[in-house]
């Protein structure tokens, strides 16, 4: 590697710096904005030095905004709570349903398995509205309109394929002789599944779970179409928040920060498995 000339090394460093700035700047800037008052935000030229304030966050958390036009009640915390509830329950349900199914697909080669697996995979690439719009009409007749249950069930369409395809690979990588040995030692199939297969596939299950959580949290169109007003997660809520009149920009920025922080933190924690999850198990990181 000594063939890289000094100039080249400088250029590479420069290019990399520009790229890093491009990708990280918006997050940084919005974070900054969230600690600024309206006056500081509207100042031209924008300045990097200012006295930070926590007012925006306080307003969001308490739910009361003081604007020039008076006091507004914003239930953004409710959006945040909805996101947490929907994402967590969807992932938990998807794990309960998906891990045994992934095991069945990995261990038993039966005809239906490939059909199901591929239908779920191909849905990942189909336009979601194709399914969501008819579903929104069905929801009324099914009585699922203003429920969390309806949303959690529909969110399975996001989480389940991901879990199936990632965890299936992990089960396939476990030598079946290990499970056979446990069964011969006297244990039933169910015990073998819980004591041997699941622990050994643990990392994969964790990865799939974390990634599904991130994708459920970041989802927009499912909630836009199917969630009733008080059950909207932050993605839809933040948009509504922005278009409401009289909102202070600092509060919008704070809302954005609150919306993205959970997934960003999770992503940093789960970084080892991101490549694998993003490629649906095709590429090991």
């Amino acid at each position: 590697m000594g063939r890289i000339s000094f100039i080249e090394r400088v250029l590479r460093g420069l290019l990399l710096t520009l790229i890093v700035i491009f990708f990280l700047f918006p997050i940084f800037w919005i974070l900054l904005m969230s600690f600024q008052t309206n006056e500081q935000i509207l100042r031209i030229p924008p300045s990097l030095t200012f006295i930070p304030t926590l007012d925006n966050y306080k307003a969001l958390i308490s739910g009361h905004l003081v604007t020039s036009a008076g006091t507004l009640d914003i239930a953004f915390m409710r959006n945040l709570g909805n996101s947490v509830l929907l994402s967590t329950c969807s992932v938990v349900l998807a794990l309960i349903l998906g891990v045994p199914a992934a095991y069945a697909f990995a261990r038993f080669k039966f005809r239906m398995s490939e059909d199901i697996a591929f239908t779920l995979l191909s849905f990942r690439f189909a336009p979601p509205l194709l399914v969501l719009l008819p579903l929104s009409l069905f929801f009324e007749s099914l009585g699922l309109v203003d429920t969390y249950v309806g949303l959690i069930w529909v969110y399975q369409l996001i989480a389940l394929p991901l879990i199936l395809w990632i965890v299936r690979g992990y089960f396939e990588d476990i030598s079946s002789d290990i499970e056979n040995a446990y069964r011969i030692a006297g244990h039933s199939w169910a015990r073998t599944f819980f004591k041997i297969a699941v622990p050994l596939a643990g990392p994969g299950i964790a990865a799939a779970g974390l990634l599904s959580f991130i994708f459920c949290w970041n989802n927009f169109v499912f909630a836009l179409v199917l969630a009733s007003a008080d059950k909207q997660p932050v993605t839809v809520g933040a948009l509504a928040f922005v278009t409401a009149s009289g909102i202070q920009y600092g509060q919008v920025a704070a809302a954005i920060v609150l919306s993205v922080t959970p997934t960003l933190l999770l992503a940093l924690y789960a970084q080892r498995w991101l490549v694998e999850g993003l490629s649906l198990g095709a590429v090991k990181g």
């Binding site: 030598s175 002789d177 290990i178 056979n180 040995a181 446990y182 069964r183 011969i184 030692a185 006297g186 244990h187 039933s188 199939w189 015990r191 041997i196 622990p199 050994l200």
Partner: protein
Amino acid sequence: MAQIEVRNLCKSFRDDAVLKGLSLSVDKGEIVALFGPSGTGKTVLLRLLAGIYAPDDGTIGLRGRDASGSPPEKRGIGMAFQNFALFPHMTARDNIASALTARKMDAAKIQRKVGAVARLLKIDHVLGHSPRELSNGQKQRTALARALVGEPDILLLDDPLRNVDAKLRYEMRLELPTLLKRAGSTVLYVTQDFKEAMALGDRIAVLLDGAIAQCDTPARIYAEPVCIGVARLFGDPTLNLVEVQPQLVDDVPEVRVGGAAIRLPASYAAAVGGNFTLGLRPESLHLVDGHAPGTIAVDLVAVTPLNEKSVLLFTMDGGNELLASEAGDRGAPRRIGPSRLALDLDTVLLFDRDSGRRFIPAGKVGAKS
């Protein structure tokens, strides 16, 4: 009543018929070595017995009862796998204990039994290690301990010494029979090494073409193989094969080997006129001086000293090669060149050239198969 009774077992994978009507009977307390070339279905048979696979046809009887439909955990069998199949997320101790935790046994008793079997196999000092930290030999003994700890009356061992280094393999070959006999279990031991089979088995079951060709004591398998396929699998170097057509000369059956006329015992009279292959064990060929009748003129081409024996390569008239082996290296250097070989007629084997079956000279009883 046999402990393991297999009748007409058939098993195919996709279009590949692996076992075709296999029958085998193992008595209580017996150690039977299941021997055959690789890929012939030995592991498949073990898995059928353990209940991992289900047979396409035929019956499996364990302890006198039909075992089909019985899941692996109910068959009361101990099994050691070729690749150990240890649980990577458990210590060696827990690996071994897993064979006992399915029963209602209190923890202290389990620990005692695990400790006892670990001491027996000399792995008690590594019980706290995970499989990753064990050497191959320790892994093999842990797998064996797991199979033994439950004191099963039926033991299936799938080539457990295969992945173990040569020195340990030799040691275990000496220790295992004592260990197994002490446990008193009925053992089916799979191996690809004929020496191992002869050393460990009360009987050897030779698996050829999806069925048991012969199941007999090591001595009888060696001396009275039922067909040429079985004979070829035993012996190092493998036996010499010469195509012959016995003729009656002066009322005595005679074959020509390398131009020499070899007179066979009268009990071979019925073989006259047929096409046969003569099997000559290397150790039954001896170098002799002189030109006595019944000796073969050969050319000594090469000598390979192997410490406990030497292997000599000869060529005969007609270009065929013969291998002879003799004990020791005799000290004196061998002279390459023309020599003469004599045969031991009582160890000679005659195989029908079409069917491969051994010709049984009059007066002898055929081997059990």
